[in-house]
Symmetry: D2
């Protein structure tokens, strides 16, 4: 799947609802952007940490799905964790997922979210279990 197909697949989901758009997908490597606006901010006007977690989990989950033959196996998100490093009030953030481990039974993704000048906003790790259908 290319980025257009992935973005189409995400229509009418949390992913599109938050304005997340995939911009690059490769083997064990994906990028997506997310706006910092009323859809993703908390009451004090900062990017909500939950939006960062949603972007991170989206990137890793899609990355795992792209690795699998989905007629035989599905990726199941088991655990996500995230450190919120820096506050941001507007603009766009970019998340980059890099595979730390792509095993037979589990995938582990590192996801970093940066602002438009490359400063680290959030660092996250996602654990996926590969389950036979």
């Amino acid at each position: 799947m290319d980025v257009t197909q992935i973005n189409n697949m995400c229509a009418n989901t949390l992913v599109s609802h938050l304005g997340i758009e995939f911009t690059e997908v490769g083997d064990g490597y994906l990028k997506a952007t997310m706006p910092v606006d009323d859809r993703t901010r908390q009451p004090q006007g900062l990017l909500h940490g939950g939006a960062s977690a949603a972007l991170a989990e989206t990137l890793g989950s899609v990355g795992s799905a792209l690795r699998l033959d989905l007629s035989r196996q599905v990726p199941v998100g088991l655990e996500i964790n995230a450190n919120h490093i820096r506050a941001i009030t507007g603009g766009t953030v970019t998340g980059t997922a890099t595979a730390l481990h792509l095993g037979r039974r589990t995938h582990v993704w590192d996801i970093k979210i940066e602002d438009e000048t490359g400063r680290l906003i959030c660092t996250s790790r996602l654990t996926i279990m590969v389950v036979d259908r």
Copy 2:
């Protein structure tokens, strides 16, 4: 603040955008609901793990804000982690935050998310740093 005031404060944010509504707030204890629908699902039709993380982070952050004199101190979300225990495709989930630690410099929250029959969907922990203004 009562639940109506908290829900009003969350208008035009990620919180309202996901349909999250606070239903109960007490000292070191809060509840909120979230719909499982196109706003919170992933492409396969299941509740997106990122929506669970967003609900968890919302509950703990508001819980910490309610404990502080916000003219002097602010809660800063440092780290969130979450285990996704069970898939769910529709209805409403309820998150309950319980304080594990309410110290001078840090707060730690346990957040559990359950379906309408009380089955565990997600268990999460949020670390908050209390920062002087």
Copy 3:
């Protein structure tokens, strides 16, 4: 297995090397103690956070092993996380593991570590994958 058998099984391992001793085991519930001394402290004389993590992972892993028919399945520790809540310089800590989820493919444990007066030292969560031999 009773606690004596478990403690014997842990001879000549990290578990015995840190002075960890199981004191109670039940279904989805286990307790073990650990001394706070030169074996488990960091250079400033406080309990090392890594010792807490080791106690937590020991409790959850043994708890999962007790649930499985080990001739057919093995528990594999995937992820551990821990919040260090309170410093402690001596005495004994007690860890209590409680099952949050005991599924077909994964187990999730909550582990709390307390001092001799019941104050919370550490709270941890362990994710176990159940793998067929």
Copy 4:
């Protein structure tokens, strides 16, 4: 402090008790080794995940201590998390800590543990709070 001084400082602690030895320290970058033997294994003969967590927390904590003027500030470990990627039964592992964030109030470390051939055994993240004395 050089590695010899750090290793001396860690005498009679968990660090020395597990056989952990620092081999390289720089600004925001540290390395230490740990044996996989009866001191660090679990009952099935594999490296105990808690030993990995202890190595990770040791590396990040010392890294933060080296950054601070300890007469004025102390590093406090708040949260650690770790994914166990690959089992190992013997030899030596090497942990490498890299600073993800060195702020005024918090430090965040990435720690990777590898076997002698460079395969990833464990990936961890440690959150440190910087506290004024």
